[in-house]
């Protein structure tokens, strides 16, 4: 179980002409994610979704508030410690490396204690719609397209297989055929394990398969509920939608 308690995140914003010289990106968020749940986080661009994910992973540190993971306060823990406690994060913009191969990244993800066979590594790639043979020995560098990189990123998180996985807009840059498969992968991950999924997404089809939808706008939770409760309002269109004002 992950609990976000009064979580706030501010950055100093020297350029701003406002009297306050800081910007509040996450504002006093309280949110509990139970085990074995599939939560979709949505909301307008710039609302603070990625920042919230980075706070969970420890990439950003909150200005105030606490993050509690299975009863342990992890607010002060490093990224590495959180990773080892079973939290994973697929970046919205995956990182490129010169000289690190797709195989290396998947092997590191699966854990150093586990000797990953070539077949297993290929399986993760197939799941995200990549023909493993073509990719396994390629460098995770600028030679990969944005969509390829994105799918490899998702494969690394599947390989990690941790109690909590946060995916930041996994659908971005992915073609329709792969997207259909991706939906199946998320459904399967949810059904076949007791792990929890958090997926930041703008895609109705992802929102549709989630147990719960959380709408974040202007750094706050604007709404939270089942798809029956949230989707109709979201889909009324941005013009009239109260979340997007």
């Amino acid at each position: 179980m992950l609990e976000l308690q009064n979580l706030s995140f501010q950055v100093s914003d020297e350029d701003a002409e406002s009297r306050e010289n800081f910007k509040e990106i996450i504002k006093d968020i309280n949110l509990t994610l139970h085990d074995h749940t599939f939560t979709a986080i949505t909301g307008p661009n710039g609302g603070g979704k990625s920042t919230l994910a980075k706070l969970i992973m420890g990439i950003e540190r909150p200005t105030s508030g606490r993050i509690v993971w299975n009863g342990t306060d992890i607010t002060e823990m490093s990224i590495t410690e959180r990773a080892n406690l079973g939290i994973s994060f697929a970046f919205q913009q995956p990182v490129r490396f010169k000289g690190i191969k797709v195989k290396d990244l998947i092997t590191l993800s699966a854990g150093t204690d586990k000797k990953l066979s070539a077949g297993e590594a290929c399986e993760y790639l197939s799941k995200v719609g990549l023909c493993a043979r073509d990719y396994i020995n390629r460098d995770v560098d600028a030679s990969l397209s944005g969509g390829e990189l994105k799918r490899i990123e998702i494969a690394t998180i599947i390989a990690r297989n941790t109690p909590l996985s946060v995916f930041d807009e996994p659908e971005a840059g992915i073609d329709l055929w792969s997207f259909n498969n991706l939906i199946k992968v998320f459904e399967e991950l949810h059904e076949t394990s007791s792990n929890s999924l958090v997926i930041i997404s703008h895609q109705e089809r992802i929102l549709n398969i989630a147990d719960e939808i959380v709408v974040i706008a202007n750094g706050s939770v604007k709404a939270r509920g089942t798809k029956a409760e949230i989707l109709p309002e979201l889909l009324e269109g941005t013009g009239s939608c109260k979340f997007y004002q």
Partner: protein, 305 residues
Amino acid sequence: MDEIQKNLLEQVAGLHEIPAGAYNIRANGASIERNTTANIDIVTKPDKQGIDILIRPGTKKESVHIPVILSQSGLTEMVYNDFHIGDDCDVTIIAGCGIHNSGDSESRHDGIHTFYVGQNSHVKYVEKHYGSGDGKGERIMNPKTVVELGPNSFMEMETVQIRGVDSTVRSTAATLEEGAKLVITERLMTHGSQYAESSFRVDLNGADSSANLISRAVAKDDSKQLFLAVINGNQRCAGHSECDAIIMDRAKISAVPEITANHLDAALIHEAAIGKIAGEQITKLMTLGLTEAEAEAQIVNGFLK
């Protein structure tokens, strides 16, 4: 051969035992073992230190190992090795130098390797440098490589120096005739207070000749590196050089490119990038459970692979 010498040999030539094919092993200033084949002859130079390696035209799928090891502190030597490679060959040449210095005086190996590559031949040349030993004496290597590539020949050169050499000044000069191709990949890591300089001069003299120089370097601690790449396009040709470097701690790296087109159809490119490890790369690996130090090591190892 003692254990230290065996270790050096393994580091520079990947050899656990006597290699197949032709070889010449030089240890502490003298040739200690040699083997020739029907197609590859090795002859000691009469007038100075070094050997002539003579490869018959049409020799295919053969290799020559010529490792040099120095384990006697204070030894300095200057060696000339000339490779005469006939037409239509396909050979692999593995050179390398390992110095173990546990004494207080400087050990130094300076070598000049000259390659005369016949037409249509393909040569793969691998050179590794390695230093060990905890003496105060410096381990110094100054390799000079001269390459003359005949028509439509192709040379791939790989150089690696990632541990233990205190000072190195490496220079490589190549001339290419028509249709010849040269690909050089350099991997260099310096640490402590080491100094490394690598300079290239490539003359693309023949029509449709091409050269690609790729350098990947990491400088740690207080070490310094200088990369100089001169490419002259004197005919319709293609030249590319690339210096990609990671800088850490208090190290310093300079990259000085020089490309000169003396012909309208010479297409020359130089790219150089020097910077510290991107923070987001470390962050990403930490999200996979690596510590910051492990992430850094992983990135550096991959970069130099």
